[in-house]
Point group: C2
Chain length 248, copies 2
């Protein structure tokens, strides 16, 4: 079983075999979205809920003068717009930075799900609240840290999140993003991103070569970034402690 949604939600609630079966058979249309396309543009009132199955999407907002801020990376197992129905319409856009596979799930399917499966409902709200916690962590990061710490923190976060869905090894993961996109994420220029990365490489904290990120010493990078994964609220952490924290 390698459904990223299930792998993720296991960390947010105690699922039963029945819950897992229900999630495994969530029906929807699977489609491949090419790079630089919008999945769900700002202002729309989406009929479907969108779930990332493979690759990465991102939440972003474009300002009038063309500047762009990326507010979240959406990895496999992440919903793009789960509860947007309550708010009415999207106040930002969802795009694929680099191409990904999406499942479009009718809103009614989700409503069915939450009407009959309380543990799943709870897990879905857990995921939403973790998204909010992640946003808070990004805000702290952006407000209080210099660019090198910010970058390191982001890498640490991605490492943990991708491990949860089986997409990161002990010390590395694929992350096909340009330095320009990173700049729009951290709120700095692409030139500065480049310099910061070189600096991290020179310090031996990060290797980042052609879409693959490697972290030679996870503990050292976490210390540098003052990274504490608590905000991700991965409740089954005890089980995963060993693999998460690297070489035994």
């Amino acid at each position: 079983m390698s459904n990223p949604l299930i792998m993720k939600l296991e960390h947010g609630a105690q699922l039963t075999d029945e819950d897992r079966a229900v999630l495994q058979h969530l029906t929807g249309t699977t489609r491949r979205v090419a790079r630089h396309m919008d999945i769900s543009p700002e202002g729309e009132r989406p009929e479907d809920v969108h779930l990332v199955m493979q690759g990465f999407a991102c939440r972003y907002k474009t300002l009038r003068d063309g500047r762009r801020q990326i507010m979240a990376f959406l990895a496999p197992g992440d919903f793009c717009d789960l509860h947007v129905a309550i708010l009415g319409e999207m106040d930002h856009s969802i795009g694929t930075g680099w191409g990904c596979t999406i499942v479009d799930i009718p809103r009614s399917t989700i409503e069915d799900l939450t009407a009959h499966h309380p543990r799943i409902t709870r897990a879905l709200w857990w995921a939403t609240l973790v998204d909010e916690g992640t946003l808070r962590a990004w805000l702290v990061n952006m407000g209080q840290c210099e660019a090198d710490r910010q970058m390191a923190h982001l890498i640490c976060e991605l490492h943990v999140r991708l491990r949860v869905v089986g997409l990161a090894g002990n010390d590395s993961f694929e992350f096909p993003i340009t330095q320009e996109d990173l700049a729009d994420t951290l709120g700095i220029t692409n030139v500065h991103v480049n310099r910061v990365l070189q600096d991290l490489r020179a310090q031996g904290l990060v290797e980042w070569k052609s879409k693959r990120v490697r972290i030679p010493d996870v503990e050292r990078l976490r210390a540098f970034a003052e990274f504490d994964p608590k905000y991700l609220h991965l409740n089954r952490r005890s089980e995963d402690e060993r693999p998460f924290w690297g070489t035994p």
Copy 2:
């Protein structure tokens, strides 16, 4: 009727008279919390849900070296930690910057409420999702805007939010916060806050004298800040359009 919680939730769902009556009689212990006190410290697993009734609280996180980032201002009608039970424990702190009145509501009371009043439940989730939208707006603001725009944007947001609960007039409101706290909010130094404020004053965009903020020309400030209140998802906006947008 001037219960700020009801005034706010009216914007998130269609409440009935019965809903309003239930909210009006929400039971809890009212207490006054002095300035610079914590209502709900990081790491705690609070028994009660905390609702601000008067004055301001803030969500914040302190880093090891003492730097602090304020992530939200909590005004009358705002819950501090409504859904924290799902996450397990607080990943940040709630404090009173400047003294406020809080109602401690037992978690069981909230659970009763959501079990029997679907419209209220929906309104409470709406409030949580708006908090998340606000956080996204702050992130965009912080990532893409210079300090003067950030400050202007924050003032525009507070103006709208305080109008909703009847605490702001057409062009002014009370906001008892120090420049130091503002600095921790925008991620800049207090010295820079001071200079930015003087700049805004010189441009005639904002008056801010002894805890009272006045906006001589709301439209002009909004244009300067590129402020669009859509992210606050105030659904009854049509009714309020006139007073919100100033002189007819």
